[in-house]
């Protein structure tokens, strides 16, 4: 018995534990209460696995940046901007792989711009990225003239679609990409020198600097990671829905921050895990789908997420005080 208590205690000292328990709880509730238990239907589960990565991949970037002590409100706009560029280049006859690669480069560049402006001028990233969010959204609207641009790479390069949105043993490729990205950045944060720099920079910038960590460079690299992941997520989303549209991913910034915070990352920086964010992103999708299956009015989604954010932060604060 004592041993069991010890295991439970150890599990609880692990930060993403709260979110994991909530996730399991909600899945159980939705499974039991959805009509005919449709929530456990393979189709429903596959659909969750298909949609989650869009938000999830962006949230992983947002998490790393938040651990480093900064914000990015422009993620949705970066995603839309990069998708739009890719779709336009492709519709003008460019090879789809090259177009996607250029989208990634542009994502990295925008991220770098966010980082350099924030660090060099010493302004809050909240402001920098709020500006960037509006600038890029405006540019996207201008480029598209308000109309969606279709994207059908499967006609020329079937393999492109298979790589990003195909299936392996019934598991959507985008979910596999999500897990790959999560694993990669889990390694970076937990087992790489750079991860130590990220935690140190976000936890106590002055101490990190005094120990010779290039804190500005660390922050800029985190912004670049966010930019690349937004572009990557945009490529997947655009391939999945066969088009890029001007209001693509609008509102994703707050959802990504929600997934991150629900996953246990501290707004103040220095604390957070990739695993928590993965659970956070899945949880948001589970709630969205679950409420739909319960035939609750769609408006409940935001209300529910909102309550959850506040609840989880309170729980985490209480757990940390112990």
């Amino acid at each position: 018995m004592k041993r069991i208590i010890k295991i439970i205690e150890k599990f609880y000292s692990y930060r993403p534990a709260t979110i994991f328990i909530i996730l399991i709880g909600l899945v159980t509730i939705f499974s039991v209460f959805s009509p005919n238990h449709t929530f456990l239907n393979l189709k429903v589960i596959t659909s969750i696995l298909r949609i989650t990565p869009i938000l999830g991949i962006v949230s992983i970037g947002v998490t790393i940046l938040m651990i480093c002590g900064e914000f990015d409100l422009s993620v949705g706009s970066i995603l839309a901007f990069c998708s739009m560029i890719m779709a336009i280049l492709f519709s003008n006859g460019m090879n789809v792989f090259l177009a996607a690669f250029i989208a990634l480069i542009i994502g990295a560049f925008v991220g770098m711009l966010n980082g350099i402006i924030t660090v060099k001028f010493g302004i809050p990233s909240f402001i920098t990225t709020l500006g960037m969010m509006m600038i890029l959204r405006g540019v996207v609207l201008l480029l598209s003239e308000g109309m969606p641009i279709s994207f059908h790479p499967e006609q020329k390069h079937h393999i492109f679609s298979s790589i990003f949105v195909g299936n392996i043993l019934g598991i959507p490729m985008q979910f596999i990409w999500f897990l790959r990205v999560a694993f990669l950045f889990w390694i970076v944060l937990e087992h790489h020198k750079f991860g130590n720099w990220v935690y140190a920079t976000g936890g106590n910038k002055e101490a990190a600097r005094a120990m010779g960590i290039p804190t500005n460079k660390t922050k800029i690299i985190c912004f670049i990671i966010v930019g690349i992941l937004c572009a990557f997520s945009g490529i997947i989303e655009t391939t999945r829905i066969y088009s890029s549209y001007p209001l693509q991913a609008e509102g994703m910034n707050l959802l990504a921050i929600s997934a991150t915070v629900i996953g246990g990352t501290a707004l103040s920086g220095g604390v957070g895990t990739i695993i928590g964010t993965v659970c956070g992103a899945i949880l948001i999708q589970v709630i969205d789908t679950g409420l739909l299956l319960l035939r609750a009015p769609a408006f409940w989604f935001r209300t529910f997420i909102g309550m959850l954010i506040i609840l989880v932060v309170i729980i985490n604060k209480y757990l940390r005080r112990r």
Binding site: I187, H191, H192, K193, F194, G195, N196, W197, Y199, A200, G203, N204, E206, A207, A208, R209, A210, M211, G212, I213, A266, G270, V271
Partner: protein, 241 residues
């Protein structure tokens, strides 16, 4: 008292329109404990932040063992063996002891992956060496006492071969017992050949351990005096002047 290790000459530093340092000279010799004292705003912290590479001086020269050096970053200072423990800013509270000790100087394997096992083992070894016994190198620094944290910062500096240990208000936030322990430790360091700069405005802490005092006031050095030539009351008067 041995040869001169560090000599800072005619150091100027301006923040906006305000001069924090107006031509300060500062010397650190081998095997000595220097008390850098003065009232709040005298320029003590600014001076050592220049020495440790956090700020760049607007004017002035730094010599290390008689050779002119340029300290442009904390790394430059560390390479010379100048380790600094900044007030309240030495450690990252949310990180583990081991991660803190090797912060910025991580032990790595291929591809810069952390050698966590070695970092944990070494951490415990380093801490045991200075007489600090922690349960595990994985505990978060925030759950430790002020004295234990100061101990970790000192152990870290010693492990990386500090020749000069600069400490900014190392005893301020500590209990009386913990402060005594740190003071004892500073004395031991001198005996093992490390020079110390002890920055404080608490004369009662610095007086018993220091060999010499450099007094700053409003960005200028107003006195440099050996302990044998002064008393705690006299120092107090000098600072108040």
């Amino acid at each position: 008292m041995g040869e001169t290790l560090v000599e800072m000459k005619n150091i100027y530093k301006k923040f906006g329109e305000v001069y924090a340092l107006k031509g300060v000279d500062f010397v650190i010799k081998r095997n000595e404990i220097v008390g850098l004292v003065g009232d709040n705003g005298a320029g003590k912290s600014t001076l050592i932040k220049i020495l440790s590479g956090i700020y760049l001086a607007d004017k002035g020269e730094i010599y290390f063992k008689g050779r002119r050096v340029h300290i442009n970053s904390p790394k430059d200072a560390m390479k010379l063996g100048i380790e600094t423990i900044h007030q309240d800013q030495a450690l990252v509270n949310e990180m583990s002891v081991a991660r803190n000790i090797f912060m910025g100087r991580e032990l790595t394997k291929t591809l810069h992956l952390l050698d966590k096992k070695k970092m944990r083992e070494k951490s415990m070894e380093i801490l045991t060496d200075i007489g600090l016994h922690l349960k595990s190198p994985d505990i978060n620094v925030k759950s430790l006492s002020g004295g234990e944290r100061q101990g970790i910062a000192i152990a870290r500096a010693m492990h990386f071969n500090a020749k000069i240990l600069v400490m900014d208000e190392p005893t301020t936030a500590l209990s009386i017992r913990e402060a005594q322990k740190i003071l004892q430790f500073i004395k031991q360091l001198r005996n093992s050949g490390v020079s110390c700069v002890f920055i404080t405005h608490n004369l009662h802490h610095v007086y018993p351990v220091a060999d010499r005092f450099t007094i700053l006031s409003h960005g200028r050095k107003i006195n440099d005096i050996m302990k044998k030539d002064t008393s705690i009351e006299k120092l107090e008067q000098l600072i108040m002047k």
